[in-house]
């Protein structure tokens, strides 16, 4: 068992137009996305291919050439079109009045950290570009999940799973894990209840917004386990588990552990090695109770009558994971899996001893440490607006203003990945998934890629009446190993298409 699997994140960013609290957030988000799309200075932008069943006709409609002036005079129809695909294989678009960045498909948690961080750079630079347009005030973006007035927006994870695994097993084993993993990957929040009307700190941004255990919804009655079933891949082989319960993390360690520990639990579910003895009596209620207890002493009630802390529940999953890795890989265990296991154990040990020992690694602890320091120095109660500001500004994507970024610069937050690697990931795709094919096509043949999606690239080739669709239903095909030399060789999209169809 390893942490390796096809995975990624999708993050909706909070957006505000400075000095204009009533500004239309869809318009502002669209300006941000368009600013980045137009910065490529291409005559043509590849559109997202929504219509996977009949792409040719619809894809033609995406062929709009727009200039900067458009974005200040957008009609509702235009608003729906801010949806582009990037040369790094990611998707940048407007979703529910927020700009959203979906990472390209990655094969391991470290790569997700790199391309998720690249998304922060894209958002920061896109907002800066949008703010430079004539008559535009500064647009501020926040990698968080709440406004403390009742609204929440998502930070999702996706994991490719074996279709043969019964969904009931996934639900049963994931719920206790999801309820408790916030002690590792919560982002921290000032304010309790959906509208923040109760003063106080809590571990998770999202805990107050989940109301049922299982369901299809993502915007109302949010479920702990989401049942959306769009594999964006061969549906007979794969399921895409769409996880909606996570917080948006700035900390690289939090993101690594969020993806890494979840990947391990999913593999154990697929391999049917979990005993299923951790079922919780009232999981939705416990999610909130765990979040409201930064001392980590709250005892969850299990269906079998036992009572355990969230950290103890996490220990159970870790120990099963260690055993399963030993049993299946022994000394052949890969470095990515070892890293996740060691960090998970190290963090749980210290959370149990004194959570503040994790202040350099975990978002919620770093944020709480900062808040407590302010409370000590300035004698602030939890309802003081300065504390709410610190919570919000922690997630500001601007390096000079964002408090997470300041902590990094002060040497107070541990980084896992190289800044140069993140910079490269702004434009370059991962090399070991189909994102490589998608990204390189976009970079190499910008004029000929009419549209693209997770599972297709659509070409508009000179001399051909109809658009030509290249399906990419297998996430681990289209890698550098598979198509790198072919792409090196084909200087035109026509050459590439001919080579692909001649096979």
């Amino acid at each position: 068992m390893s942490v390796h699997r096809v995975m990624g994140t999708e993050v909706e960013y909070g957006i505000s137009v400075q000095g204009q609290p009533t500004a239309n957030p869809m318009l502002a988000s669209t300006q941000v996305v368009n600013a980045w799309a137009n910065a490529g200075a291409r005559a043509r932008r590849a559109r997202w291919d929504f219509e996977e069943e009949s792409p040719l006709r619809d894809a033609r409609g995406f062929e709009l050439s727009r200039d900067l002036a458009d974005s200040t005079q957008l009609t509702d129809e235009d608003l729906g079109l801010a949806n582009v695909i990037l040369t790094n294989g990611a998707r940048l678009y407007v979703d529910h009045a927020h700009p959203e960045y979906s990472t390209p498909e990655c094969t391991n948690p470290r790569d997700v950290v790199v391309w998720d961080k690249a998304g922060e750079l894209v958002m920061h630079r896109a907002a800066a570009l949008a703010s430079q347009m004539p008559n535009n005030p500064p647009m501020l973006l926040y990698k968080n999940n709440v406004d403390n007035k009742g609204a929440s927006y998502g930070s999702h994870e996706n994991y490719l799973m074996d279709r043969a695994t019964p969904f009931g097993d996934i639900v049963a084993h994931l719920i206790p894990f999801f309820v408790t993993r916030q002690v590792v990957c919560g982002a921290g929040r000032v304010g309790r209840r959906q509208d923040g009307s109760d003063a106080g700190f809590q571990i998770s941004q999202r805990a107050d917004y989940f109301e049922v255990e299982v369901g299809l919804e993502t915007t109302l009655k949010r479920p702990l386990v989401n049942t959306r079933d769009e594999p964006h891949a061969d549906p007979h082989k794969y399921r895409r588990l769409h996880v909606i319960i996570g917080d948006a993390n700035l900390s690289e360690v939090s993101t690594l552990l969020k993806l890494g520990t979840t990947a391990l639990v999913l593999r154990m579910i697929e391999d049917r090695v979990l005993p299923g003895d951790l079922a919780l009596e009232r999981p939705v209620r416990e999610l909130r109770d765990v979040s409201y207890d930064a001392s980590l002493t709250h005892l969850l009630r299990l269906k079998d009558g036992r009572r355990m802390t969230a950290v103890q529940v996490q220990w159970e999953y870790l120990e099963h994971a260690r055993k399963h890795v030993d049993r299946t890989l022994g000394s052949d265990v890969d470095a990515d899996t070892t890293e996740v296991l060691q960090r998970w154990e190290s963090v749980l040990n210290r959370l149990e001893a004194d959570p503040m020992q994790c202040a350099r690694e975990l978002d919620w602890v770093a944020k709480l440490g900062l808040l407590e320091s302010y409370r000590d120095r300035d004698g602030l109660e939890w309802d003081h607006p300065k504390l709410a500001l610190i919570d919000l500004q922690y997630a500001d994507v601007r390096p000079d203003k964002g408090l997470y970024h300041r902590l990094v610069r002060l040497g107070r937050m541990e980084r896992l990945v190289d800044g140069a690697a993140v910079e490269t990931a702004v434009t370059e795709p991962p090399e070991d998934t189909r994102a490589y094919f998608r990204g390189r096509c976009l970079a190499q043949y910008p004029e000929q890629v009419a549209a693209a999606s997770w599972d297709s690239v659509i070409f508009d080739l000179p001399g051909r009446d109809s658009l030509q669709r290249v399906p990419t239903l297998e996430p681990l095909r289209g890698t550098k190993e598979h198509v790198g030399r072919l792409l090196d060789r084909c200087t035109t999209a026509e050459q590439l298409f001919s080579a692909l169809t001649a096979r």
């Binding site: 957030p25 406004d147 403390n148 999702h156 154990e345 020992q357 900062l370 500001l389």
Partner: protein, 69 residues
């Protein structure tokens, strides 16, 4: 603090991970260490003070989002 159900883990836990603790000179005694940490925290807060948005109450109040997923 009451704890049930977690004892069996003790055998497999490794020593406390000390590598992430704030750097402190081995020779510093407790009082010196506390003083240094306090100064350290003060320095951080001073720096954060410099970048915090002005008028926290207005700024936080004007951050209003539409719900998302």
């Amino acid at each position: 603090m009451a704890r049930e159900g977690g004892q069996q883990h003790r055998t497999t836990r490794k020593g406390e991970g000390t590598e992430e603790s704030p750097e402190v000179e081995p020779s510093a005694d407790v009082a010196e260490r506390k003083e240094r940490l306090d100064e350290d925290v003060d320095a951080i807060l001073d720096e954060i003070d410099d970048v915090l948005e002005e008028n926290a109450e207005d700024f936080v109040r004007s951050f209003v989002q539409k719900g998302g997923q």
